[in-house]
């Protein structure tokens, strides 16, 4: 243990602790801007660049960055001496002097770390006037870049390169012109970006924001010739409440359904329903591949899940040689869209093109997935618009509603009923667990002795287990972060030395609960943990917890699809992948 004083208070912390952590452990909150950590989720950005966290260390010539300086025995630290406050204010004033300061029109207004820092330091005017840097605006279908607002914290870069290993963003230029951009300042859409949007989730300011599609949805609702239906993803219901002042981890499923109805959606459905459908298709596909393998036929194993579109784009760009490994099952968003346009539209008595399908997703990648050409018929996308959790919250507020005041309502039928297996799709390991619940029972014909697979739960970036499938040892792995996914793909290239059969991949920290479309967590990993607890609470409270027991799912197979992985489901519920490695040529 190391003894030191911070603001004259004697404290003791373990060796290797930074001044910042030591202070926070002792109730002293030193402000930061560039530093960002997701505790226990293997993400830390520590460039030591913003210099907002500087403190005075007795005997040291210069001020020290608290986030990047380890404690030492006998250290005397002052976090708010006149020298420190003056330096800290001056540094933030400098940052503001090269910033557009148009908070009123900014996507980040009210949620911006630079804004709250300015308020906290009591900065009333910026003494420095001078040139401000301006850059070209750029956008994909998911991410909008306005680098005029960039403060060079480098969080996006660390996220993109270290956590995701997508390698789309890095620092370019030097001095005053330095900024974060794709290689050769090409468009993000032409880069190796996979649209995971996690750079947006971690950006402290409005430099990286989501592409706002609210107006398009409002117009569709206002159009009397259109019938507008909505689906809501599993992870949304455990995070939306945060936008309305509720505690993280509050489950707002019923209130959300009620709010969506009041926003004017004609039918309110549930992506959980199509998550159950996904399990039927993906689980059947897995069993099919296993059967072939056991019979000695050539087959691609391990099978990877394919419900995370950032992950899909990632393997299309980075592993074009392995495109036959992931499941061909569409994501739950994609499946819902296909069912809505093919099966539901005639039922509702509307033409395909008069049915507008809207998704509410925790995700920004889904905005790009929605627009994939193969998920459309004659140019009419199966899903017409995708809104994030944050956009739904905006829309609810815009329409003078408060989620707190909403009654509890149910989803509409027939695409509304779901099981506990579906809701856990929102957390890392959930798709695996849901698939295991169904695959086990379908394969063995026996009832699972224990429905909870604890080995797939929790925040470890890589989880491995061997599941006893009635004598057959099924080797599984669950990973989140595309960096971990890359390691798995590299193993496959090396001949799958660990003998995996099935691997779940989610791009985001903790899975979709930590998605880029969720309310900003500002690095507070407890918020993501609370969302996960809520997911498993929701699962435990469901009367039915296995996808193959969902009566609405059984009914649609009986009435429409026939059987999982049958002819019609292959046509509508499965997809194929493309070699997109040319997008990486520029950076090679």
């Amino acid at each position: 243990m190391i003894n030191l004083t911070i603001d004259n208070k004697p404290i003791q912390v373990p060796e290797g602790t930074t001044i910042l952590k030591a202070a926070r452990m002792n109730g002293i909150d030193i402000p930061t801007l560039c530093h960002f950590e997701l505790d226990g989720m293997n993400f830390e950005n520590k460039p030591g660049g913003c210099r907002v966290c500087v403190v005075e260390v007795k005997g040291r010539r210069n001020l020290a960055p608290a986030c990047a300086t380890d404690v030492m025995e006998g250290m005397e630290v002052l976090t708010h001496s006149a020298r420190v406050i003056n330096a800290r204010k001056t540094v933030v004033e400098l940052i503001l002097s090269d910033h557009p300061n148009d908070c009123l029109q900014c996507e980040k207004n009210g949620d911006c770390e630079l804004q709250s820092l300015t308020k906290r330091l009591g900065i009333k005017e910026i003494p420095f006037k001078g040139e401000t840097s301006t850059y070209r605006k750029d956008s994909t279908l998911s991410v909008y870049r306005d680098m005029d607002k960039c403060v060079m914290c480098r969080r996006c870069e660390t996220m993109c390169n270290k956590f995701m290993t997508a390698g789309a963003l890095s620092g370019v230029n030097r001095g005053f012109q330095a900024v974060v951009a794709p290689a050769f300042e090409q468009n993000l859409g032409d880069s190796s970006c996979v649209n995971c949007g996690q750079c947006v989730q971690v950006c402290p300011v409005g430099a990286l924001t989501l592409v706002d599609d609210i107006a398009k949805v409002m117009n569709a609702i206002a159009d009397p010739t259109k019938k507008v239906v909505v689906q809501t993803a599993p992870a949304v219901r455990v995070a939306l409440g945060e936008e309305f002042g509720m505690k993280p981890g509050e489950i707002v499923t019923g209130k959300m359904a009620a709010a969506l109805r009041r926003l004017g959606f004609d039918q309110v459905y549930d992506t959980d329903w199509s998550a159950d459908l996904t399990i039927m298709e993906e689980g059947t596909e897995l069993l099919g591949r296993l059967k072939k393998a056991l019979a000695g036929e050539p087959v691609k194993l391990p099978m990877f899940t394919s419900c995370c579109p950032a992950w899909v784009t990632f393997y299309e760009k980075n592993f074009p040689d392995l495109l036959e490994y992931p499941s061909t099952a569409k994501s739950p968003q994609g499946m819902f869209g296909a069912v809505a346009k093919n099966y539901l539209a005639p039922k509702l008595g509307v033409k395909r093109e008069d049915l507008v399908v809207v998704s509410i997703m925790p995700c920004l990648a889904k905005k790009s997935e929605r627009a994939r050409e193969e998920l459309a018929v004659n140019g009419d996308s199966d899903v017409n618009y995708t809104l994030s959790t944050r956009e739904l919250a905006h829309m609810i507020r815009q329409c003078n509603l408060d989620l707190n005041d909403m009654p509890e309502e149910d989803f509409d039928s027939p695409l509304g009923q779901s099981t506990g297996a579906a809701v856990i799709f929102g957390a890392t390991g959930g798709v695996m667990e849901a698939a295991l619940r169904t695959a086990y029972e379908v394969h063995t014909g026996k009832t699972l002795p224990k429905i909870d697979f604890m080995e797939t739960r929790g925040f470890d970036g890589v989880k491995e287990a061997t599941i006893d499938f009635d004598g057959f040892p099924l080797k599984i792995a669950v990973v989140y972060s595309l960096g971990n996914a890359r390691k798995m793909m590299e193993q496959v290239r090396q001949g799958n030395p660990n003998g995996y059969h099935f691997i779940e991949v989610m791009a985001c920290p903790g899975g979709c609960i930590g998605g880029a479309g969720q309310p900003y967590h500002h690095g507070n990993s407890d918020i993501i943990r609370k969302r996960m607890e809520a997911i498993y609470r929701e699962d435990a409270g469901k009367p039915i917890r296995k996808s193959h027991e969902n009566p609405e799912i059984l009914a649609i197979y009986k009435e429409y699809y026939g059987e999982p992985c049958g002819h019609l489901s292959h046509e509508q519920l499965h997809t194929h992948y493309f070699d997109k490695s040319d997008k990486l040529e520029a950076t090679k």
Partner: protein
């Protein structure tokens, strides 16, 4: 640009220290990062011995030092001198004194991030510590000698422009702060400066020094701080009197024709590229033609007229 991780294919910017390169450098391996000069000393120390090397120099700074002597001095070039030599010896004995018999004003040591020393430092024995104590540094071994034709705020701006170019952009005080320092200096040398700007200049320079991440940013304000300390009057003149005594800051100069001396030949007007010179209706006693006058709002301060006037009637004020 400060040394970074270019050899590893990374962007050129410094990483956090510790760990220092000696512990974890290139590819995470212990690495020796030194100047060429340091390496060049090694063979001599090996062949002639440490005792011989230590016999040269001062208590704390052993051996010799190579300086790049430049500026308004008669002998310029690379010199190798023992540590502990005085500036006076370097400038007047080795350098042969100031050019054209002009007055010594300042010497900038240590390259762009060094400081400007004045006549009062001429007899200081120079080594690593004494230079730092005097507000400068050994740095790159640059030594630029200046006479009264050098304007100190303009010199500070010149060096700041260089560090702005060299900043890697990683930390905010250096990336934005040096740019702002430069802009304030530009204001001052343009005659738009205020006394508040001088305060801001000092505060900002001190904060950059105190907060920047690497050596470049921690030293880049030195030219500003040392000229503020040693040449405060010159800054005040620029700001209050709108005058540049060295005649360097063009925006602060005005070309004036002495109407008593002007014989009205009009050669100045013919050579003026912007037609700023016209004839008055005043003829000085003893002259035949009316004198000329310069419209300061049109004048671009090119200096052509002063060279064209054979009668010394035009001066800079």
């Amino acid at each position: 640009m400060p040394p970074g991780r270019e050899l590893e294919g990374q962007r050129g910017e410094p990483t956090l220290k510790p760990p220092f390169p000696a512990v974890s450098g290139y590819m995470g391996k212990p690495s020796n990062v030194n100047n060429v000069e340091t390496f060049a000393n090694v063979p001599v120390i090996i062949t002639k011995g440490a005792a011989w090397f230590s016999s040269i120099g001062t208590e704390k700074s052993k051996g010799t030092k190579v300086f790049a002597l430049a500026g308004q001095i008669n002998n310029v070039g690379l010199i190798e001198v023992p540590m502990g030599i005085t500036l006076r010896e370097i400038i007047y004995e080795i350098g042969g004194g100031i050019k054209n018999g002009r007055q010594f004003k300042a010497v900038q040591t240590g390259g762009p991030s060094g400081g400007c020393l004045t006549a009062k430092h001429l007899d200081t024995a120079i080594d690593y510590d004494s230079l730092v104590a005097a507000g400068s540094m050994m740095g790159s071994g640059g030594m630029v000698v200046m006479d009264e034709t050098s304007c100190m705020p303009a010199i500070a701006k010149f060096y700041l422009e260089f560090t702005c170019e060299e900043s890697c952009g990683k930390c905010s005080p250096c990336r934005i702060g040096n740019k702002r320092l430069c802009e304030i200096l530009e204001k001052i040398t343009d005659g738009r400066g205020t006394m508040e700007d001088l305060q801001e200049l000092r505060n900002l320079a001190a904060v950059i020094k105190d907060t920047a991440l690497c050596g470049l940013g921690q030293t880049s304000p030195n030219p500003v701080l040392s000229t503020l300390d040693n040449f405060w009057d010159e800054y005040v003149e620029h700001v209050v009197d709108k005058k540049c005594r060295a005649g360097v800051c063009k925006k602060l100069m005005s070309y004036v024709i002495d109407r008593e001396k002007c014989i009205g030949c009009g050669k100045c007007a013919k050579g003026c590229p912007v037609e700023a010179i016209s004839r008055t209706d005043y003829t000085a006693p003893g002259h035949k033609l009316a004198s000329m006058v310069i419209d300061s709002t049109k004048c671009i301060k090119c200096g052509a007229c002063i060279n064209n006037c054979k009668f010394g009637a035009i001066s800079i004020q």
